[in-house]
Amino acid sequence: MSALPEKMGNANKKKYILEGLSSKLFQFCALISVISLLLIVGFVFYKGSLPFVVDGYSFIDFLTGVDWVPSEEKFGILPMIVASVYATIGALIIGVPVGLFTAIFLAEIAPKRVAKFISPAVQLLAGIPSVLYGVFGLAIIVPFLQNVLNLPRGQSLLAVILVLAIMMLPTIVTVAETAIRAVPKTYREGSLALGASQIETIFKVVVPAAKSGVMAAIVLGVGRAIGETMAVILVAGNSLIIPTSLTDSLRPLTTNIALEMGYAFGSHQNMLFATGIVLFSFILILNFVLAKISAKGEK
């Protein structure tokens, strides 16, 4: 490809031009994801920084303020930050062990016929719109909590945690199961030959060997939980308080954006973009931390 021979035929020349053009086209297409990312980050950060750079709001007050009253120009998102953190951690505490154990069960213990039936079913559920989990949450979980725990309202942190935990189950199970299945047979055989029991082999050899895949499963699950919006709106109650118990209703960051974006304008709208920046930072921190953890695991 280095130099075009002078005597090359017309057809060949065309061919080479086409080759060159197409490789440029492919490169451009590949760059579109970079352009999109830059546009998204650029727009969100630009709009989100306007209130602080131009309108003179304090960013610290924004992060630590407890009042969110747009019509009175009060924009504090501490309650929502706390709500998002609690809801995500709660969902993790329930969803990860259950999901992981289910994945281990399907990959290692379940009779082949059972696993063959359940695995695709769970996979299918990973694709179901999250809104439907919210519908179920509002119709069943909210009234259930209210009646059983005798609460004044069922829309609560607990309801959000349950809906998110259920929603992330299929994702965690599917990804973790694939990772566990990918561990070579020889690992298991070696461990069993050394006299370890099946359970010991699973927890001491197979799962550690599948660590990076399992981590990926958790990251994906958490990502789904922290970013989920519409299912959460239905069960959170969207109150503007810092939740102090599992039965308080709450408003996570995502819901704040979805609830108010429809009618917000001016600095109120920009503040929603600032809320987006905070959400964005959470995702970045999460990815960073988990990348660190899995890097450590690799060593």
């Binding site: 057809a11 065309k14 086409l18 009042d67 009253v69 747009p70 019509s71 009175e72 009060k74 909210v142 009234p143 209210q146 004044p152 309202r153 069922g154 829309q155 709106i233 109650g237 969207n238 109150s239 503007l240 308080i241 308080d248 209703s249 408003r251 609830l259 108010e260 429809g262 009618y263 917000a264 304008f265």
Partner: protein, 279 residues
């Protein structure tokens, strides 16, 4: 050079198939009127929305227009009408000075009442305006204090940009900052109604049009929430339904639609859905 031809043909087929299927869908189900001038886009209040939808439904039966209604809340509707995203904005509160200053013209298409609602099992059926204020600001937190059962009060309010909320707060006399913090925020009349209907503890406020048997309505100082009482100015929780538009954004089709709403035929529908005639 067959490969170029084949690539080209392949891409062409892909695109035409997709394009055709898109076209088919539109051809099958939409009217032949692709003329974009025959479209009226309306957005705004979820209180005005259902009324506007019903009138539009009837209007579109006999007129060759397509009316698009987005229920996104009063403030958003007014913003859209100002910026030209929508031809007409619906509002369930009066326009603010700065909104009028931006050149918006308002047309009152109906009046409407706001009613305080509770779960049907709630024994409290009558409140004074002051008690309503105390409930929504959190001074009173148990139904027992109002003559009801020993149940914690759960306040359900609309979101901050809602016209109903602004009108309600103005008449009752409290500000957004005073609203009890742990109030459940519901983004629409229907959402409030559903939340209240599902919860014995709850209290909220909705438009007259949304009243049905799933919730129980509260009288204010003994005055029932009815259209007559609003007309006779006995019941004070009421506000106008507005269409707001900018002169240069309004098409003839939009103008005719507004005229239709104000006609006796349109006003009959207003009454049908439980709102109050203009005249």
């Amino acid at each position: 050079m067959t490969f170029i031809r084949k690539t080209a043909i392949g891409l062409l087929v892909l695109f035409t198939v997709s394009a055709l299927s898109a076209c088919n869908n539109s051809n099958n189900k939409t009217d032949s009127s692709n003329d974009r001038t025959n479209r009226i886009s309306i957005s705004g209040s979820t209180s005005v929305g259902p009324l506007a939808e019903k009138i539009a439904d009837k209007y579109m039966d006999t007129n060759d227009v397509k009316i698009e209604i987005n229920q996104i809340g009063s403030s958003a509707g007014i913003t859209n009408a100002t910026s030209g995203v929508s031809e007409i904005g619906m509002s369930s509160r009066d326009l603010k000075e700065e909104e009028k200053a931006s050149g918006l013209v308002e047309t009152i298409i109906a009046y409407d009442g706001i009613v305080v609602v509770t779960h049907p099992a709630n024994k409290v059926k009558n409140l004074t305006m002051d008690q309503v204020k105390q409930i929504f600001t959190g001074e009173v937190s148990n139904w027992k204090e109002l003559g009801g059962e020993n149940l914690e009060i759960v306040v359900v309010s609309r979101e901050d940009g809602s016209g109903s909320r602004e009108a309600f707060q103005e008449i009752v006399g409290y500000s957004s900052g005073e609203l009890i913090r742990n109030a459940i925020i519901a983004s629409g009349n229907g959402n409030i109604k559903t939340t209240v209907a599902m919860n014995k503890h709850a209290v909220g406020f909705i438009s007259f049009e949304y009243i049905d048997s799933s919730i129980s309505t509260i009288d204010i100082s003994g005055v029932k929430a009815t259209a007559e009482n609003v007309l006779q100015q006995k019941y004070s929780l009421s506000r106008p339904f507005l269409f707001a538009h900018k002169e240069d954004h309004l098409t003839t089709a939009g103008q005719q639609f507004i005229e239709y709403i104000l006609s006796p035929e349109g006003q009959d529908i207003v009454e049908e859905v439980g709102a109050i005639r203009v005249k």
